[in-house]
């Protein structure tokens, strides 16, 4: 029921933003469409499904967005520096890291965040293990790699999703 309601709300909100209007007919059609889709896919994940409904989790979510944008920009500058340097200083490899997160959505957001940040790309997900392609491997063992790739995001996601 909770996931149904959240999916409905997410879809409906997206519809309203897309239309950019609050006219009654727009709202009625949007509500009907969102209702049908939410009824057809009761188990579909929405970014809000597992989010804890506490004020602290919501504040952390806002802080997370800013942290993420900062990391995204750092990531791009790092990749730009590599691409522009004449001798292409890469040291690629695939390493394994572990996450403490339990929820599906938390893990998915973690994998997504890792993919958009400095030189790392999630290749495979298997339960609590993530396999990460890293452009410049500087710590191949699990603990070090986990500390430098996962820990930063996990701090936030743990509060948000657990």
């Amino acid at each position: 029921m909770r996931s149904f309601a959240l999916l409905f709300l997410t879809l409906f909100l997206f519809w309203v933003l897309l239309n950019g209007s609050l006219a009654p007919d727009v709202l009625v059609v949007g509500a009907a469409a969102a209702l049908i889709i939410a009824a057809l896919f009761p188990k579909a994940l929405s970014a809000l499904t597992d989010l804890r409904p506490t004020p602290r989790a919501l504040l952390t979510a806002v802080a997370y967005v800013f942290y993420f944008l900062k990391e995204l920009i750092k990531s791009n500058l790092a990749v730009a520096a590599i691409v522009l340097s004449p001798n292409l200083p890469v040291n690629p490899g695939i390493v394994k890291v572990r996450t403490k997160l339990k929820s599906q959505m938390g893990r998915m957001l973690l994998a997504n965040s890792i993919t958009l940040t400095p030189g790392t790309l999630t290749v495979e997900l298997a339960g609590e293990w993530l396999y990460i392609h890293w452009v410049t491997v500087d710590a191949p063992d699990i603990d070090h790699a986990t500390a430098s790739i996962v820990a930063g995001f996990e701090r936030y996601l743990e509060v948000m999703y657990g």
Binding site: F14, L17, L18, G20, L72, I73, S75, N76, V79, A80, I82, V83, L84, L88, V90, N91, P92, G93, I94, V95, K96, A111, N112, S113, T115, L116, G119, T120, L121, T122, V123, E124, Y131, H133, V135, V137, P140
Partner: protein, 106 residues
């Protein structure tokens, strides 16, 4: 405001260019995914922000496009990377370690 928007669009285009350059220069498919999808994500976001400055009426829709790109880009690059690895894509000789291959006994 117009000049600021224009500058943002140029900065975005510059990141798109870096993405293209990375795609050409990087040694194997995984590194290409990294360079190609990351730089283009930021490039797109910057350009969209710039256009929002130039054309404030469009802000909402540009924001939605940006949000969509921000969510789908990492997903598609992850799915691609997984597919490439499962299909046994060749790795650059510079590759130092591949835990996934080791575990699968390749």
């Amino acid at each position: 405001m117009d000049v600021l928007g224009g500058l943002l669009v140029v900065a975005g285009a510059a990141f798109l260019l870096l993405g293209g350059l990375g795609l050409v220069r990087m040694p194997d498919v995984f590194n290409r995914i990294q360079a190609g999808t990351k730089a283009t994500t930021l490039g797109t976001l910057l350009s969209l922000a710039g256009f929002a400055g130039l054309q404030p009426d469009w802000t909402l829709k540009l924001f939605l496009i940006g949000l969509f790109v921000l969510f789908t880009n990492p997903l598609s690059s992850q799915v691609l990377a997984r597919a490439a690895h499962r299909a046994g894509a060749e790795e650059s000789p510079l590759t130092t370690v591949d835990v996934l291959n080791d575990e699968q006994g390749k």
